[in-house]
């Protein structure tokens, strides 16, 4: 067994929270800057130019890119050969509290969904854990802003709805969202599994490098087609009109029941953040 101290997990999570909120991953930054170069519609180009300036400003000042520094979604892959010394989930929550406090990030979490009341340190995190072969611990922190989270949808489609049903549901979701999720967006799609599995797949799709393609050519082609259809809506950056409504569409799938075809669409904004570390 390989020993990993809970304190090391706390320190890593704290660092990832801060880094994810201050700088985009290279793939995401390239997607935003590339969209600025490619856009021809005047108001859209100006708006994308502002987003590029904002990335420069965040880098120069150390400020978060966006004030919605999100609820911390933490994905962990724990090697079966790893033994954690201490309370694993408590270590993650402590890392979130440390990162959001020391990094001057916004505390955006309320302790009860109906009765509200800010928890004051952005805890708890939403933790997803998988047990995998090996002796490593991989931690991915993906702060999730709620302007885009609120525009996400889940549908329990019928098998007879088929491929067209899935495509229509995705495009309709983006259309309904319009300017609200801060386009240009990244669209995560989960198809199959059960009610909760589809939602998780959609979120996991957003962890992939933006613009990467599903290894299955069938779904890769669907990703391409959906991106084209979404950008033909003309919503454009911030909803002011233009070509660049989405920077990427990413689909993840899982086998499902003979009676069903769950589809979840999780929307991310142009500040799509995720940062990982391996202990």
């Amino acid at each position: 067994m390989r020993e990993i101290a809970a304190q090391a997990i706390t320190e890593t999570v704290a660092r990832l929270c801060i880094e994810a909120n201050r700088q985009l991953s290279p793939d995401m930054e390239q997607a935003v800057r590339g969209a600025f170069e490619a856009e021809r519609w005047p108001i859209a180009k100006t708006t994308l130019g502002t987003l590029c300036e904002n990335l420069d400003a965040a880098r120069a000042t150390g400020l978060p890119i966006c004030q919605d520094t999100g609820m911390a979604c933490v994905f962990c892959e724990i090697g079966q050969e790893v033994h954690i010394q201490g309370d694993f989930e408590a270590a993650i929550h402590a890392g979130v509290a440390k990162g959001y406090t020391e990094g001057y990030l916004r505390k955006s979490v309320v302790k009860d969904p109906i009765r509200r009341g800010n928890t004051g340190d952005n805890t708890p995190a939403v933790i997803h854990t998988r047990l995998v072969p090996g002796d490593k611990l991989k931690i991915t922190v993906a702060p999730k802003g709620f302007g885009s989270e609120n525009m996400s949808r889940l549908g329990m489609l019928r098998p007879s709805d088929g491929e067209q049903g899935v495509k229509d549901f995705v495009v309709e979701t983006v259309k309904l969202a319009g300017p609200n999720p801060c386009p240009p967006i990244v669209v995560g799609v989960g198809v199959g599994g059960t009610f909760e599995k589809a939602a998780l797949l959609a979120k996991q799709a957003l962890l992939r490098p933006v613009g990467s393609r599903n290894p299955d050519p069938y779904y890769a082609a669907m990703e391409e087609e959906l991106l084209e259809k979404i950008n033909a809506l003309g919503i454009g950056p911030q909803g002011f009109g233009g070509k660049t409504t989405a920077l990427g569409v990413q689909i993840e799938t899982y086998p499902t029941h003979i009676a069903g075809m769950p589809v979840a669409v999780n929307i991310n904004c142009h500040v799509t953040r995720h940062k990982e570390a391996v202990l």
């Binding site: 300036e53 000042t61 978060p64 890119i65 302007g147 609200n180 809506l233 003309g234 009109g241």
Partner: protein, 185 residues
């Protein structure tokens, strides 16, 4: 059209703005989002005076990150506005002239804007670091216990905004994408 405006904003000024115009706004504005709006309206329901004077004022739907040492404010871009739709008509009828946020508004808000001559302005969502550079001072006004959601008084200089919905009800979120799609045919 491009305008340079300074708060307070009179009805004559806000009525002259049109969807698609750009505004560089200077002067004093107030931040308020979900929880602060709820409290403002509860305050009115109790028959008490508001802690801020909304007449001819601009409210910015924003909850900034904490200021780092030596900085005036943290990242402070706009939040999505529709969540304030339940409260906005009440404030508009008390004289609020500009709402600054991002995203769609409901019919009742637009109706109240037409009646009162107010405008809805969009700041660039997600451009929080850039917006911080336009804020010259920030002071807590009330509801400190709400943290980021407290009402703050910001002194801004040339805050870059776009008129999305004007006092006639024109909406850039409809006309902008329509114009782009028409250009593709």
């Amino acid at each position: 059209m491009e305008y340079k405006l300074t708060t307070p904003l009179t009805e004559g000024v806000t009525r002259s703005l049109r969807a698609g115009d750009t505004v560089l706004l200077s002067g004093v504005i107030y931040t308020a989002r979900d929880a602060a709006h709820k409290r403002l309206c509860e305050c009115l329901e109790r028959g008490e005076a508001l802690p801020i004077d909304v007449k001819d004022a601009a409210i910015y739907y924003a909850g900034p990150t904490p200021a780092q040492p030596g900085q005036v404010i943290g990242a402070c871009g706009p939040t999505t506005s529709y969540r304030m739709d339940a409260y906005a008509p009440t404030l508009l009828r008390l004289g609020l002239k500009a709402m600054i946020g991002k995203g769609k508004r409901g019919g009742e808000v637009v109706q109240a804007m037409k009646e009162t001559g107010a405008v809805y302005l969009a700041a660039i969502g997600g451009a929080g670091a850039l917006m911080a550079s336009r804020v010259k001072s920030a002071q807590l006004v009330c509801y400190e216990d709400l943290g980021s959601e407290a009402i703050r008084c910001l002194e801004v200089e040339d805050m870059p905004l776009t008129v999305v919905i004007d006092s006639l009800g024109n909406d850039l979120y409809q006309t902008g994408p329509e114009a782009y799609r028409a250009s593709q045919n």
